[in-house]
């Protein structure tokens, strides 16, 4: 299929395919080295990184729910210094762009993280704004346009790399958030992060998750994610990375038709650790069947 190309580019990041991984579901990539052909992966978005190491939430951290799962990992990670010193040198050998997902307790921390990660082997930073704003009452940065905009500005000021803003779906108006992100200077929009949910054990009358609430992901969220991508596509010019319940190439194509320039695969990595290869191969087949040669030909082509 030599005349068929899945290659694409987002904010100057050259990618072998539009298929990326969703932060927190692919570790640092190396955990999947037995399964994934890194030449087929557009970019590896590594796990949420914070300034200081974090041990995450106590108690049960995941549970399966109908067509999905809830998680409350609580951003366990070794911290940005350990990432730069130990992990990045180890994973750069895969020759696949590395995007670091970052979380801060304050607006300033996002800037500090962005600055520390402005190094040659990091392709971009992705801002996770679904975490609580410690200084201002603990409400997530990503549910309110002003605090989200300040986070974006803080990151932009401190790095020359593209800044990706990952939108939270737990808002009333996703379009307003996307427009605010564009105005604040974000280079790329990714969406969606997990939807807040919970599960209860009726025998013990206790919440299943240690943190009581958790983030819903998997096929259950796909229709919501797809709708949000489509709405955002109509409202902003920025490139979009679509995600939420992508389990196969058909799902990926839906997101691209709705306007996503690239897609990220999350929960599906747990179900089928070689799913990235399969989606790549099936996207090629799809293009061939449709007599297309370039994956970009389907982006935003929804006929509504």
């Amino acid at each position: 299929m030599s005349n068929i190309s899945l290659k694409t580019e987002i904010a100057g990041i050259k990618m072998n395919s539009p298929i990326m991984t969703a932060s927190g579901t692919f570790g640092f990539g190396e955990e999947f080295a037995d399964f994934v052909d890194f030449n087929k992966l557009g970019a590896s978005v590594v796990k949420g990184t914070t300034l200081k190491p974090r041990s995450g939430n106590k108690g049960v951290r995941i549970t399966e729910t109908p067509a999905g799962m809830l998680n409350c990992i609580g951003l366990e990670n070794p911290g940005v210094e350990a990432f730069l010193q130990d992990i990045l040198p180890r994973i750069k050998k895969y020759n696949c762009p590395v995007i670091v997902n970052i979380s801060g307790n304050t607006v300033e921390e996002y800037g500090e993280l962005a600055k520390m990660l402005d190094v040659p082997d990091v392709a971009a930073v992705e801002l996770n704004v679904s975490c609580p704003n410690v200084k201002e009452g603990g409400i997530a940065f990503g549910v309110e346009p002003d605090s989200m905009s300040r986070v974006i500005e803080s990151a932009k000021k401190n790095t020359n790399k593209p800044v990706i803003i990952k939108l939270s779906p737990n808002v009333t108006d996703i379009v307003m958030m996307a427009k605010a992100a564009e105005k604040a200077g974000a280079d790329v929009i990714s969406l969606i992060n997990t939807l807040m949910g919970m599960a209860i054990d009726v025998n013990t009358w206790k919440p299943v998750l240690g943190n009581i609430t958790g983030g819903l992901s998997g096929p259950a969220v796909k229709p919501v994610a797809l709708r949000m991508v489509w709405q955002v596509r109509q409202a902003v010019k920025l490139p979009i990375i679509g995600m939420g319940g992508i389990m196969n190439a058909t799902d990926a194509i839906e997101f691209m038709l709705a306007g996503a320039d690239a897609v990220a695969v999350g929960t599906a990595n747990f179900v089928q650790p070689d799913i990235i290869n399969k989606i790549y191969d099936d996207l090629e087949k799809y293009l061939k069947e449709k007599n297309l040669t370039n994956i970009k030909q389907i982006v935003g082509k929804l006929q509504a």
Partner: protein
């Protein structure tokens, strides 16, 4: 860091039957690859063949035979109940082998198993080629039926306890452990069972100055060390049960936090 080689394998169900009164099933799967290379204590992530079950379920490798693996599981929830409907000849996909197994380095091993925790010790007993003893406990004689059959001829001595005294010694394994330790010069204890029981056994092992390894269970999504669903605090810092375990030296994981 080199990670152990993991594989996705389509296996074929050779045998699938209820072996225990309390919803315990045995699943014998041909995986068409050398299963003898798997270590006692390693596990698989099994995909329940039903579009409705999303995540794989972790199950210990109870035994191996050429290219076949034996899994022993209890149907307790949505996934394992659905698994009982799998028929002989069906294909089941597994991710294997996962985690690190037991460290066999010792002279006189004592295995301690409680309930379903008795299952993964079968392969361990076989690897010790008859030199291990097992102290195993269940609720009652009916539940002890499959373990008695499975451990016929693979150990030096089998010591049985039941909670109600309907077979063997009455009470929990940990209650009888001091007496068992008094009789022979064991130099390592391998324990698998409910966490509370493993903690008691580990405590007794510590008092007797005997090395002890435990096999932990945590909810898992990936099984590969990526999602951090299964991390625990240890004396060596944070560890992933799926990748760094499930077998740990007891004193590294059971300490006063």
């Amino acid at each position: 860091m080199t990670l152990p080689k993991h594989e996705l394998i389509d296996g074929k169900v050779i045998r699938h039957e209820q072996i225990g009164s309390n919803d315990v099933y045995l699943l014998d799967i041909d995986i068409f690859t050398d299963a003898e290379q798997y270590a006692a204590g390693q596990f698989v992530q099994l995909q329940v063949p039903d579009g409705e079950i999303l995540l794989r379920r972790p199950i210990s490798i109870a035994d191996v035979n050429g290219t076949r693996i034996i899994l022993i599981y209890r149907a307790i929830g949505k996934g394992t109940k659905r698994l009982t409907r799998v028929q002989c000849g069906d294909t089941v996909n597994i991710l294997a082998p996962l985690g690190h197994g037991f460290n066999l380095d010792c002279q006189k091993p004592l295995l301690v198993g409680g309930g379903l925790g008795i299952a993964p010790l079968i392969l361990l007993a076989k690897r010790f080629k008859g030199k291990a003893d097992i102290l195993m406990g269940c609720k009652n004689a009916a539940e002890m039926d499959w373990p008695v059959k499975m451990y016929d001829n693979i150990t030096a001595e089998n010591i049985i306890t039941t909670d109600d005294g309907s077979m063997g010694l009455k009470g929990f394994t940990a209650q009888h452990l001091p007496d068992v330790l008094a009789k022979k010069a064991y130099d390592k204890i391998f324990v698998c069972g409910p966490e509370i029981m493993m903690k008691s056994v580990a405590e007794i092992a510590k008092q007797h100055n005997i090395a002890c390894e435990v096999s932990l269970e945590k909810r898992m999504a990936c099984g590969l060390g990526a999602c951090l669903s299964c991390t625990i605090e240890t004396t060596r810092g944070r560890q992933k049960v799926c990748k760094d375990g499930p077998v740990f030296v007891s004193q590294e994981v059971f300490f006063n936090e």
